[in-house]
Amino acid sequence: MAVSTRDQAVKVAAAPEARRRFSRRRFNQALTGYLFALPWLIGFLVFTLWPMVYSLYTSFTRYNIIGEPRWIGLRNYRNIIFSDPSFLKALENTFWMVIVKTPIVIVAALTIAILLSLDLPGERGFRTIVYLPNVLSGVAAIFLWQWILAPNGLFNAGLELIGVRGPAWFTDPNWTKPGLVVMGTWWIGSQVLIYLASLKGIPKSLYEAAEIDGANGWAKTRYITLPMLSPTTFFLVVTSIIGTFQIFETAFIIAGAAGRDVALGGPSQSLLFYVFYLYNRAFGKVGAGGLQMGYASALAWILFVIILIVTLIQLWLARRWVHYETDGR
């Protein structure tokens, strides 16, 4: 009895000391956490948050980098939306790409992934080969495809074998964008692998149950595989659309090839995509509407809003076709 009272007395006496130590420990914990996160914190403030604020401000100004930005209110936005034919052309080209390329990429990737999931001999080799093009990107690969899609290049020679006369891909304004789609289907490796990973996650028991009920191959694909894959499909559709909205490098290089002026945006502006146009406005030659940082910033924010709206529409549509397992993960 006596001992425990003395213990209590000691505890009471030590309490402030303990609390101080405790709070110092908490302080140290917090400090350690922030120190480890410091690189990102700095990066976020300096390279993301501040640029965002600054870019929003710039979009309401006229600014050519050399002088000071001058506030002009909503004039950039008004000019872009109501009196800029190149903006409309860029928007049209970009939406064309998004609408045509996305379904082709998704269907091709899904088909190849299903073939790969059948556990056929040489699966690893096939997987490697399908992913290989993703490694071979950059300027070199764009030159390669320009060469393949040359008017009398390899691709058209292949078409000739089946009796089709191929177009003059990258010089005919009607065929530049289809040319990019043909090129793009070479780079579906990561979509295939993502599909493959989630295909392997579908429980075998679902198929076994369906087989007992007498389902054929198509029924199994339609009622098990596709619904089970729908979250992945949704992810791939969203990311591929966001990616296509920002297409730049390929169009820029092809438009500037063969000594042509990049500012023209390819034959009859057929390759002038949104980010390409934005680049021309921000970093292009002054004579061709370049170095207008305010105008280009406004273009960037309009693109941001467009991407946001398109993504929100997809989220809303997703409720109708994306199937999530109720038990969750």
Binding site: G43, P121, G122, I129, W147, G256
Partner: protein, 309 residues
């Protein structure tokens, strides 16, 4: 429970258990055989462009317009001719320097930050992690212009002969040292799977947080670190827009810009055999890394998919 947050494909690289294969035939049915034939066809189509590139790179000009696969004379001299036009050694050196620094910066900083989010308790952590995820949604285009303006004002004091950061390697290297939201997310998921008991017992033995990070968690995160190292290597080596915006003098060009310069110099009629020869050389490092570390590429992609679910 904690272990289950690691995607199964990443766990020590173990192959999933495959059902035993029947011994008499590799194909379950005629349909599977047809599917296999289809795959072979697709694989050939995927390989054709690369093979065509090699074939073109070894052709004499006289054969360029004929669509034959095997050149009558293997023109190895194309490589040396092509390399004699342009500052290829300089550009290669630039690419190596930029890539090396960005990969090291990216891996180290992303790992540190991921460690803070995965294994340390600090006030504001969960809110800030939400911010990390939110920045992943931000299109890079919106940040491109203001970042350029910032770098155009930062003084470089004559580094690489420039008064501002524009026309130096700094804008291409320094941001990498602040990590990338996507890699931080990926590494955090992985580090959460490393048992907490390891950290606790090390702490009892008197190890500092830095030591635990460096000597325990980092070595156990190797597969994930390898994945992001490889992806950031590929990203930096093949980056085009960054160098295009920031590097103006030809002697600072990376290989990607150099390739374009080479094509430009031909004045609208590039010699395709030369162009394919140098293109092949520029692609080679990534190709070699891919073939050597294939597993990490493939696993990395699978995790990406899981991250999206």
């Amino acid at each position: 429970m904690a272990v289950s947050s690691v995607p199964p494909t990443l766990q020590a690289g173990k192959a999933p258990l495959l059902p035993p294969r029947r011994s008499f035939s590799p194909f379950a049915s005629v349909w599977h055989f047809l599917a296999w034939l289809l795959l072979v066809g697709i694989a050939v189509l995927f390989l054709v462009p690369l093979l065509w590139m090699i074939s073109t790179a070894l052709k004499d000009p006289s054969e360029l317009m004929r669509n034959n696969w095997i050149p009558q004379h293997l023109a190895w001299e194309n490589f040396s001719y092509a390399l004699s036009y342009g500052m290829w050694f300089r550009w290669t050196y630039n690419s190596i320097v930029i890539t090396l620094f960005s990969v090291v910066g990216m891996v180290l900083s992303s790992a540190m930050v991921a460690y803070a989010f995965a294994r340390l308790k600090w006030p504001g952590r969960d809110i800030l992690f939400g911010v990390v995820l939110a920045t992943m949604m931000m299109p890079g285009v919106v940040l491109m212009i203001p970042q350029f303006i910032i770098f155009a004002r930062l003084p470089a004091f004559g580094f690489q002969g420039s008064q501002t950061w524009v026309n130096t390697f700094l804008p291409l290297i320094v941001p990498a040292f602040t990590g990338s939201a996507f890699y931080i997310f990926l590494l955090r998921q992985f580090m959460r799977g490393v048992p907490m008991e390891l950290s606790e017992s090390a702490k009892i033995d008197g190890a500092s947080e830095l030591r635990i990070f460096w000597n325990i968690v980092m070595p156990l995160s190797k597969p994930a670190l390898a994945t992001i190292a490889i992806f950031s290597f590929q990203g930096a080596w093949q980056d085009f827009m960054g160098p295009l915006i920031y590097l103006q003098s030809e002697r600072l060009y990376t290989l990607q810009l150099g390739l374009r310069q080479f094509e430009f110099a031909a004045g609208g009629a590039p010699a395709w055999n030369w162009l394919m020869a140098v293109s092949l050389l520029v692609m080679l490092p990534v190709l070699v890394v891919f073939l050597a570390f294939q597993r990490y590429f493939i696993e990395g992609i699978s995790i990406t998919g899981m991250g999206g679910r």
